[in-house]
Symmetry: C2
Subunit: 343 residues, 2 copies
DNA sequence: ATTTAGCACTCAAAACATGAGAGTGCTAAC
DNA sequence: GTTAGCACTCTCATGTTTTGAGTGCTAAAT
């Protein structure tokens, strides 16, 4: 339904607008040597493109600006599989000495992503519900306090300090840790409270005394409250975008960024592969004039997190898409290598 | 050198401006019943106060605004020891079940602080150089990978994953961990690299073979790169302040917030007690028109961190100072209770 | 039957003008 | 010493004009 020439013009307009952020007019277009037509001709074509909904005007006598439909078409059909070279090997570089810390890798990846694109990046840490218990340890720090450490099969380490309940001797504690390790080893994190309730409780009754009051306490100790973590990169980048010249716009954006649970939801329901949500395609009010790109990464079998990038709808989709593609592949690759799933 | 009446007027002007953010004029002041003088009288006094440098005009015929000198005087002499009631017991509330996670406490404290004040809070995590090694553990995750865990006497847990160097058997690893625990127990973190170099190296030579190439690797594994962590609260709060109505102002602020090392420096050199830096008293360009309040907290013997609050010079010093006072005391108290220093 | 040149028209943004309002400084009276 | 009064100043909001980029349409050119 669109002629070749219209597609060409659409492409050039979008490319131009993505770069300049200014409405593009017929005169400027006719000067480009990719389009050997006069301004008037281009005007006609633009009028058609507007009628079909791919372009918009900001006011009656302004140049044209891509509509969301225009961007959508651009993303779906007008960008070829172009590979963005920079930024490859980011993660490899981080870990080439064989030593790594998960948090640091993810944080650096987020920063790199935002630096390379000048947009704001968000990485959702991996779901850990399915990770299983590898080992539990309790270490006394003093007479009154101790630290409990839990290591999962994926190499995650959770720890929590606590004051020792009265009347708990060190041998009690040792017994308790033995019971916990015995019963919880290999159990996925989300089942911990349940197992403690059903199995650990009775064993505690049997082999230890006076500890049943502590049961509730132990359950609390090993219950994860917030399962996923967010890593941000370049929160300030978005301020460089001319569409953020309005203080209220900035306010609303940053206020969203502080509501982490909403962000988690926003990123979570991303399925496999890369997903581009342009403007109103987003559910969340505050980013209905932005574009959100999400890509998932995987760790071993099934657990996963999401990499996301937020920027104006006028986003450098070409660059961004290929970059996200390669980073998510790299992350999946790197993680999979280390976190083997044998327990 | 200032008359009582001038002090009164100064105080009222500052209080008023702190609340309204608008230059305050003589007419409005004469209407308050704390000041039973006519506008003209007040005008004269204000002229004097301006001459002595406590007040400023934004332009020739505007109301007066406190100068930095004015704020300084206000903070030093004009606010009594007023106790801010809300927000007491924040930290107690967080830990009343005896279970706590350091990071979470600090983060929550930062958020509470910013919520109660509507400014941006920053908490500098404790210096850990002086904490000593309590225990080191290495846990194999698979044939190729393992996780190393280090617990300090203060209950901090550091962990790092790594791929096992080739030719390292599990018994080698066990020996290594034994050596490390033997030599490093009780050693402060900052001395770890040195001790590994001098003592561990020779022992490794003696009892294990083929591992000397891994020495460097072990040193890297146990070397802390970034010793302090920052916790932010209410980064978006500052946007609500009318002095942040300018996009460039916002940009510069957020760009500073991303340069964490600079922030660490800014907060670090705070000595005991509470310190107020008003406007140009700050060294850092980006906050020369803001006020920075810092207070230190302590953990057991000597290690410490800093609590900070950033807001416009037009800050509610009364409220903020008493709040910072009580929060830093609470943190010191709470931390000290748990992190006893016996190793 | 396209394409193009030309021209009238539109609108946003910048530049300029005007007036009201809040506030000051000064003088003279209280 | 305090206050009323008044001329003066500057900002801010509002209205007006100008400029320039861009369009849509028509008629001529290819």
């Amino acid at each position: 339904m669109l002629t070749d020439r219209q597609l060409m013009i659409l492409q050039v307009i979008i490319d131009d607008f993505i770069e300049s952020a200014k409405p593009v007019g017929s005169r400027a277009l006719s000067k480009k040597d990719t389009l050997p037509y006069s301004a008037a001709t281009i005007r006609n074509e633009m009028a058609d493109l507007e009628e079909s909904g791919f372009l918009e005007k900001t006011h009656t006598s302004s140049g044209r600006v891509p509509s969301e439909k225009g961007y959508r078409y651009y993303v779906d059909h007008l960008i070829g599989p172009e590979i963005y070279q920079h930024g490859l090997g980011i993660i490899e570089r981080l870990t080439n000495n064989g030593i790594y810390e998960f948090e640091q890798i993810v944080q650096t990846a987020a920063e790199a992503l935002s630096k390379l694109t000048n947009y704001t990046s968000i990485i959702l840490g991996p779901e850990m519900f399915e990770a299983t218990v590898k080992q539990i340890q309790v270490l006394a720090l003093s007479d009154q306090s101790a630290v409990a450490i839990l290591v999962t099969n994926t190499g995650h380490v959770e720890h929590r300090s606590f004051t020792l309940p009265k009347g708990v001797s060190s041998s009690d504690l040792e017994k308790l840790v033995n019971i916990l390790n015995d019963r919880l080893h290999g159990i996925p994190l989300y089942r911990i409270p349940e197992v403690i309730q059903n199995e650990v409780a009775s064993l505690m009754m049997k082999y230890m005394n006076g500890l049943d009051s502590s049961l509730n306490w132990i359950r609390t100790l090993f219950t994860q409250e917030q399962a996923v973590k967010l890593y941000f990169g370049g929160k300030a980048n978005i301020l460089m975008q001319p569409e953020f010249n309005d203080v209220d716009r900035i306010r609303s954006f940053y206020s969203l960024m502080e509501r982490e649970d909403e962000i988690v939801n926003l990123l979570k329901n991303s399925n496999q592969g890369i997903k581009v949500s342009i403007g109103h395609e987003n559910e969340v009010e505050e980013i209905k004039d932005l574009s959100l790109i999400t890509a998932s990464y995987h760790i071993g079998g099934g657990q996963m997190g999401t990499i996301a990038l937020i920027g104006p709808t006028r986003m450098e989709y070409k660059k961004v898409l290929s970059l996200m593609e390669s980073i998510s592949r790299e992350m999946t690759g790197a993680m999979g290598k280390w976190y083997s799933d044998k327990s």
